[in-house]
Symmetry: none
Subunit: 243 residues, 2 copies
DNA sequence: AGATTTCTGAAACAATACGATACAAACAAG
DNA sequence: CTTGTTTGTATCGTATTGTTTCAGAAATCT
């Protein structure tokens, strides 16, 4: 745990890191706000779970410091809620004796924890450690490739297609792969050979295209997204945006 | 509730891990000796820097717990000494107020630290975390980690899965291994060959997947976490964070 | 233009892969 | 040894995919 460069960590990424402190005690909240702010972080504050959700919706929070004892929602259940890869890492604050054992026993998904009363400097050190540990991971897992075209959203990480109205369009595995291939190179004329996966007849591509058209084309008889290039193959003519 | 977690960590590697406690206070020394011993570690004791060197020469120490205040050599300088060599990881014990700030400021190569007075259970947790983090052999460093995805927490050290509501989802051994494999490479398309353990039929992977889906999918008929890639295998499509 | 050839779209059918139930074997606990 | 749990196998129904086939569209030829 070598953090000689805590300040650097906080401000290295051009824009500073956001820390969200969820704590109902007024004194601790203002103390942490000042202390973390002085040490190069942007600080957002929340008094309870509800406020936390509000902040999370507005601010790109990099790390949450969460007190166990909150007025409305229990810190534990908040922890459970946050337990998915998309949410920021979490440091729990806990009063000595109380739920400490529960935290330590059940690992509930917090990335670290601190027993109150604590030295602000210690929190700073742990924040640095957690950010360092989770930073590269966040970046790599954030690399999801999704494609949007004419109201559709094709998400290759979840292998799902959402239609213009938001409803899911259920594609079979082969249909999905075909659409993904087309999406990755819009405008390119694909030969049937390029579109067929295994040792199948070239004609099987045709019927796959046909089935896909049934699902995504407004009028499958007069396709606008997937065009046929006679004696050549097919091409995807929609404007695709990579997300 | 004792700690099945750390017991398993300590004794999982066939031979138990050695912890060296360097501490001049007789009470704390015997307390830690008993407590760590009870929790599956081999414990070596030292009163000062000199004794520590003796022990290190004789015992394959896996981790050192080092008090800052020692009679002969200052804990800081010991820490410096240990830092350059291929020495075991280090957890510092420090009295509140005293040099705490100095430790935290100058990070001198300790892997973690604990402010006295502390709960033995907490030391145990931090020992487990440090061992996990610094485990040199690929096997244990790969194996001992927790993964969180869409509300679940998969803890490979306790081999337990906690659901979004915090309740434990009971997985069989094979189910757990399967989920762990998938978790370690989310997005990768695993062939049945990669997922099957022994000389079993490829179809047995299917039924295992099916059983796992029953337990973790919201709607097993329309899975969102484990996707089937027809004629290829399966892929884990949730975003996973390693903790 | 009309006839002919070539190509594509899609319906009908066949083959295959997968999901899940029921049952049997292996394993562990008492 | 008995009992219960876990894991593998057999099987069936369903969903997906490939093949055949034919009708119609598009290009080519006379």
């Amino acid at each position: 745990m070598n953090s000689p460069t805590l300040n650097e960590i906080a401000s290295s990424a051009a824009d500073r890191r956001w820390i969200l402190v969820v704590e109902d005690d007024e004194d601790i909240r203002s103390l942490l706000s000042k202390y973390l702010g002085d040490n190069g972080f942007e600080v957002a504050l929340a008094r309870d779970g509800k406020q936390m959700d509000d902040v999370l919706a507005r601010v790109p929070v990099d790390l949450i410091v969460l007190d166990i004892n909150l007025p409305d929602e229990d810190g534990f259940s908040i922890c459970m809620r946050l337990r998915n890869a998309a949410s920021p890492p979490l440091i729990m604050l806990t009063a000595r004796g109380e739920d400490t054992d529960r935290i330590l026993g059940i690992e509930l998904g917090a990335d670290d924890y601190l027993v109150k009363p604590f030295i602000p400097r210690e929190l700073l050190a742990r924040i640095g450690a957690v950010l360092r540990r989770t930073a590269p991971d966040i970046e790599s897992s954030q690399k999801t490739s999704a494609y949007s075209f004419s109201g559709f959203l094709l998400d290759s990480s979840t292998r799902r297609l959402l239609g213009p109205t938001g409803v899911r369009v259920i594609l079979t595995s082969a249909e999905f792969d075909l659409l993904l291939t087309l999406c990755r190179d819009p405008g390119k004329v694909f030969s049937r050979d390029e579109l067929k996966v295994a040792s199948t007849t070239e004609r099987s591509v045709d019927i796959l295209i046909s089935r896909l058209r049934q699902k995504i084309e407004d009028d499958p008889r007069d396709p606008t997204l997937i065009q046929t290039i006679r004696s050549m193959g097919y091409t995807f003519t929609a404007k695709v945006r990579v997300q």
